[in-house]
Amino acid sequence: MNLPLSLLFGFAVLLMLLLAWVLRDPRELEQPDADLGNAEDLDQRHVTYFPQVRQAMAAEDSTFLSSRASQVLARRVQRERRKIALAYLACLRGDFLKLWRLARVIASMAPQVGAAQELERLQLGLAFSWRYEMIRVKFLLGFAPLPELGSLSAVVSRLSIRLDTAMKDLGERTALTTKLASSLDGRGLNTP
């Protein structure tokens, strides 16, 4: 098989695989409205626990512990703290993904969608996932850059508050539309 034919064959196999993936029943495929329903939880996100995490990971605490306690105990505490940071980072990613999904819900409901905006968001999501994985690996290797993790949380927090307001706005509009539609139905104005 020469190169063009091999490429065509590979492309067809890729299409088959993509088709299988795209058509499989996506249990994780969320209902768009479900996110709207959870909008009220936005302000109770993991970012609110950052002060506690920061305290647990503070360098001063580690120095103090190393000077007073045994090496074994200090190492064990360090390990536990790293676990906490990793769990926190994972939660942060969950928050990001939820917010990212909410942005897609807004787009799916919009009468006009900007291709550039959507492409940019897709790109940002992919970049986030890549960087997140890289940072997670670094954390696993034993680094703990807490101040930067803090600023990361602040961004998510700001975004969540802003989206909370937007979701409430959208919810009110949807409720108003439904109310209007049902009142028209009730008066026999429903058209087939």
């Binding site: 299409l15 990001f96 942005a103 799916s108 009468p111 986030f128 993790l149 975004l159």
Partner: protein, 267 residues
């Protein structure tokens, strides 16, 4: 007709029977009102069977005239296939005006790209097998465009009714198998389009029969009733929020990058 092997005639009859069942189901369940182009496509396929029986009876299956007429009839059904698919995509995306706007642009972009790739990959083979290359090029473009749309559906969590998914999946499956069969047979030898024609015919017909079974299953029940379309939120919500969200996401990414770079520095 006598020049076609018996097993191909049997497959042909099976395919015609299944097409007839599909058409009956479309009318019996009232689905033809929702999918008029798909109904026309199935009807055209049945007409094509009758047309080919006539053509091969008059000119024979091996004659140039017979083959050319058969390929012309294929062009008509392929055009109907494209229209039927667009119809299903449009029905699915009716409540999502913005996404539909994005989807047709994705369709146009993907199709153009694939046409260019196909033209580049096969430019030397046109004199030998023009119709085969055109057919494969069409199926490549078609499958890539529909899969791009399905990916878009998944990305935006657009709920697609199982019946529509099965019909679209059937179209794509058929196109993908056509590409694979063409490519595998072509790689077997220089005179592939003459020597392996019966294999090509039987394998493509078999894959189409599988697709017809999928469609019969999809159309067994009436198509889902569309939910009343709620008035979409005003355009300003998206216009206002989308850039802001992107800005925040970008900021978040920059923080992540800084975190990464900070970690990379020696402690």
């Amino acid at each position: 007709m006598g020049t076609l092997p018996l097993y191909i005639l049997v497959l042909w009859a099976c395919s015609a029977l299944l097409q007839l069942i599909t058409l009956i189901l479309l009318f019996a369940k009232g689905s033809f009102r929702k999918l008029p182009f798909f109904t026309v496509y199935v009807a055209l396929n049945l007409c094509q069977v009758a047309f080919l029986v006539f053509v091969y009876s008059v000119w024979g299956a091996d004659s140039e005239t017979g083959k050319t007429l058969a390929w012309y009839s294929e062009c008509v059904t392929l055009l109907a296939q494209a229209l039927a698919t667009t119809e299903i995509l449009k029905v699915t995306l009716r409540p999502y005006q913005g996404i539909w706007g994005l989807a047709w642009r994705a369709l146009a972009f993907t199709s153009t790209l694939v046409v260019l790739i196909v033209a580049l990959a096969t430019h030397g083979a046109w004199d030998k097998a023009k119709w085969f290359e055109l057919n494969r090029g069409y199926h490549l473009t078609f499958a890539a465009a529909v899969i791009a749309c399905l990916l878009l559906f998944r990305y935006y969590a657009v709920q697609v009714a199982a019946a529509y998914k099965m019909i679209l999946g059937g179209f794509c499956l058929y196109s993908c198998t056509e590409i694979l069969i063409h490519t595998v047979l072509q790689s077997l030898g220089k005179k592939w389009f003459d020597a392996y024609e019966p294999i090509w015919q039987s394998s493509t017909m078999l894959s189409f029969i599988v697709v017809l079974f999928i469609w019969v299953a999809a159309l067994w029940k009436p198509l889902p009733i569309e939910a009343r379309q709620a008035a979409p939120p005003s355009d300003s919500v998206y216009q206002r929020l989308s850039p802001e969200i992107n800005e925040r996401l970008r900021e978040l990414n920059e923080k992540l990058l800084r975190l990464w770079k900070l970690e990379a520095l020696p402690q």
